[in-house]
């Protein structure tokens, strides 16, 4: 008996009656399977998942049937659904109901009317399984995003569900927390046999673990097969989804090999070794201009040994940060959480004022600028959460808030590709669209220096590509971009210079190529995969190119 059986499910939202959000979906999910659902933002992934739990099913016109463990889902009682079908949502913050960690763990069990003793046992069990003991008594507001999401997972697992549905659970987390979270999900699947249905941007971490991958395009189910077969299918149909595949898959199809398709970096490595068996690569590196710090004359931004702390008695956040940002370039700062990367951006926009050292913008000290002068035509910052820039009812009003003329609004909307979204409420946009709308808003101040805090967070690969094109266009128009990010793949591909930030200062600065080819951990999947053969292939294209040259394909 299938765990979930979806038969001919069709759905349309009341606001868009002619457009089918779900178009005749047929899907059968066996007990204990790990299913990844992928597709572009807005393709109907979330709508599909929400249908699997009656209380969350959106309002609209539905036809078709869903069976849960052989019974029609709508005939399964609310209580049984609550306990057996666990649902983890995207936003770690809003899902939390109570103020204390222990109470949150107990919330579901309280709702199910369990007695003190049972709840005490279950809560204790969850706390130790998920390693929550050390923050068991804490306030939820003191937790990091990763901890919150783990708490959400634990409080759902406390109800002992047989199936776990996860809707982009890691889109708001940094890569380390995300990998941690997804490993826990994998562990639950392997150790408890819980069925997993997950949607994810970060396919690298879930693709290889999946038993099946389901691809949805525009409300239709276009593929439902093993990960390898789906990879082949997407390549053959030249689907846009192919760009979201993990690096090993993309490289594999780029090289055109007869061997078996690799899914992980490890498999990718041995695949490359097999390809190169008996062949000594003649070309092992990509040509790259050397980077010299001294050569930068007239930098757009220069930070000279800046020291900063938030309060007198707190430790220093910035400990002598120094760097120069060449004009008209994309400068990326990578490094772990809580290191002071965002504070560095704030010191450039003069929000955090260093107590020692200087920040120079166009050669002039930032504190000598008047606020109006600094933020009109010089510096603007895109915050980590683009939503915090939105205060109006439509995107158009947002842009008009910046005292822009209609032509300016029109132009900037065109640049950021949001013309079709001008009438929408900013909260109704997807993550990538919100990002672009927020960017449009800040571009209206005509900044010459653009500060971006985690610009690719929560954005899927297509939107990343689109966002990168906008950045490149801006760069051509003379804008200098400084971004703080965890996304090494994005930096490797688009940045001109990459800096490593650690413990309050910049450790090293270099071109992405040199930077990443010297790292062995914080580097791109393509680089890790080809490290044993090539010196400095860091993007998928680099590896493909070098393979082609050496293998004469």
């Amino acid at each position: 008996m299938a765990h979930f059986e979806i038969k001919d499910l069709t759905f349309s939202y009341p606001t868009a009656k002619d457009h089918l959000a779900l178009d005749h979906i047929n899907l059968s999910i066996e007990k204990g399977q790990y299913i990844t659902v992928c597709g572009k933002s807005g393709c109907g992934k979330t709508t599909l998942l929400k249908h699997l739990k009656s209380v969350l099913a959106p309002h609209g016109k539905t036809s078709g049937e869903i069976y849960f463990e052989g019974k029609l889902l709508k005939d399964v009682s609310l209580r049984e659904q609550s306990s057996k079908i666990g649902y983890v949502m995207q936003n770690p913050d809003n899902q939390v109901v109570t103020d204390k960690v222990w109470h949150e763990l107990a919330f579901g069990l309280e709702s199910l009317g369990m007695d003190q003793k049972t709840i005490r046992l279950r809560v204790a069990e969850m706390a130790s399984y998920f390693g929550i003991q050390s923050w068991f008594h804490k306030n939820v507001s003191d937790l990091s995003g990763g901890q919150k999401q783990l708490l959400n997972l634990a409080s759902i697992m406390a109800m002992q569900p047989t199936v776990l549905i996860l809707d982009e659970p890691t889109s708001q987390l940094d890569p380390i927390a995300a990998a941690d979270f997804l490993n826990t999900v994998r562990k639950i699947n392997l150790e408890l046999g819980t069925t997993i249905i997950i949607t994810e941007h970060r396919l690298e971490d879930v693709f290889h673990a999946s038993d099946r991958v389901v691809v949805i395009e525009d409300g239709r189910l276009i593929a439902d097969d093993t990960p390898k077969a789906v990879g082949r299918f997407l390549k053959e149909t030249k689907s846009e989804m192919f760009t979201a595949m993990p690096s090993p898959v993309q490289i594999y199809y780029g090289v055109d090999s007869d061997l078996d398709c690799p899914l992980t970096v490890r498999e990718g490595r041995s695949w490359l070794s097999q390809e190169f068996e008996g062949i000594t690569p003649t070309v092992t590196s990509i040509q790259e201009e050397p980077y010299m710090d001294e050569e930068i004359k007239d930098p757009a931004v220069e930070v000279k040994e800046a020291w900063f702390r938030y309060e007198k008695n707190l430790p220093d956040v910035l400990k002598g940060v120094s760097f120069k940002v060449p004009r008209q370039s994309i400068f990326a700062i990578v490094g772990g959480n809580g290191n002071g990367k965002s504070t560095t951006l704030k010191s450039i926009s003069n929000i955090c004022k260093p107590y020692r050292g200087q920040v120079l913008i166009n050669g002039k000290r930032v504190d000598k600028y008047k606020t109006s002068e600094l933020f009109k035509g010089n510096v603007a910052m895109l915050p980590q959460d683009p939503q915090s820039l939105f205060v109006k009812k439509t995107v158009k009003e947002e842009l008009e808030e910046m005292k822009a003329t209609p032509e300016e609004v029109e132009n900037v909307a065109k640049t950021c590709d949001i013309t079709h979204l001008l009438k929408s409420h900013p909260y109704d946009l997807s993550g990538g669209e919100q990002q672009r709308a927020a960017l449009a808003k800040i571009l209206l101040t005509n900044p010459k220096i653009l500060l971006l805090d985690e610009p690719t967070k929560g954005i899927d690969n297509f939107f990343k590509l689109q966002f990168a094109q906008i950045l490149l266009k801006l760069k051509e128009q003379g804008v200098t971009v400084i971004m703080v990010t965890h996304d090494v793949e994005f930096c490797a591909r688009y940045a001109d210079t990459v800096s490593m930030f650690l413990d309050g200062s910049i450790i090293t600065t270099n071109t992405p190529n040199r930077f990443f080819s010297r790292n062995s951990f914080s580097t791109t999947a393509a680089n890790r995969m080809s490290l044993h053969l090539f010196e400095n292939a860091i993007t998928n294209e680099d590896v493909i190119e070098l393979c082609r040259q050496n293998l004469n394909k």
């Binding site: 609550s82 913050d93 809003n94 109901v97 109006s372 933020f375 603007a380």
Partner: protein
């Protein structure tokens, strides 16, 4: 919490009862001896918890004490010892000033007690207590306690985001924009929270309330002790053992009075409960450690 306060590890019912007792009795007993005990008890407990906080509160306490002491004789002219006259022969009396001093120290003690209360009665204990009385309120309270820090954080985030595009002015337009953004965000988040609650079975039938607090034997023993001591105080009060009059002249019940003696002892012991507990605990650890 840097120091371990043993008393706060007892069941919240006891914590709450203790503070009700301490503050309630403090308001009944105006007898100078009782007041001294009250002040000593309050300061001693607050100081063992957080000396910095007491230091911060001191200016407020001193100012209030002085003001009440000096102002009381201006309003109340009774009393036979006239210190001086003012405003066309209006007397300023010593007795009235003493009364002011007593009232002032009572308020001072109450402030300190509340500082100690805040330290011990954390929000979850409060919710636990009230959840027992009105279960539906307890969840609402918990959610509000969750929302407040969230709101503050978001408001700061929005203001920081606007500051970094140069919108720093604190004018009406800006403030209302931030406010409307906050409301929108809260509504949006509220929908997700509601979904998350329903997804976890909220409203699917009868609901229980879970708490991590237990009621152990030591809690029972402590409850009995507290009951006995408070009874002693009440008996003393009923027998007039804590009587004091200030006008027209100062008369206090003497310590030799049986009721007064009983009251002082019970009151003192009651107020010292947490300190005794902490000291016993410290001694116990000291002995344990010396054995190792």
């Amino acid at each position: 919490m840097d120091r371990v306060d043993t008393f706060s590890t007892y069941n919240p019912i006891l914590n709450f009862a203790y503070f009700i007792g301490a503050i309630g009795l403090g308001m009944i007993f105006m007898h100078p001896l009782f007041l001294v005990v009250n002040l000593v008890g309050a300061f001693a407990y607050a100081l063992t918890q957080d000396p910095k906080k007491v230091k911060k509160l001191m200016p407020l306490v001193v100012i209030m004490f002085t003001l009440i002491t000096l102002i009381n004789p201006l309003l109340n002219t009774n009393g036979k010892t006239v210190l001086f006259t003012w405003l066309h022969g209006r007397p300023y009396t010593l007795e009235s000033m003493c009364w002011g001093m007593v009232t002032g120290s009572m308020f001072a003690a109450i402030i300190i007690w509340f500082a100690a209360y805040n330290h011990v009665m954390t929000s979850d204990k409060f919710v636990y207590l009230f959840g027992k009385v009105v279960p539906s309120i307890s969840l609402v309270l918990t959610m509000i306690l969750r929302l407040i820090p969230n709101f503050q954080k978001k408001a700061n985030q929005i203001m920081a985001a606007r500051a970094s595009i140069g919108m720093t002015e604190k004018n009406m337009e800006n403030v209302s924009a931030v406010f409307s953004a906050l409301t929108g965000w809260a509504l949006e988040g509220g929908i997700v929270t509601a979904d998350s609650m329903r997804a976890r079975g909220y409203g699917s039938g009868n609901r229980t309330t879970f708490s991590i607090y237990r009621f152990d034997k030591r809690d029972v023993a402590m409850l009995v002790a507290m009951f006995v001591l408070i009874s002693g105080c009440v008996v003393c009060a009923l027998m007039g053992g804590a009587e004091v009059t200030f006008v027209p002249d100062i008369q206090t019940a003497p310590i030799t009075n049986m009721a007064t003696a009983l009251g002082i002892i019970c009151y003192g012991l009651f107020l010292l409960i947490p300190i005794v507990l902490n000291t016993v605990e410290a001694l116990r650890w000291h002995i344990l450690r010396s054995r190792i």
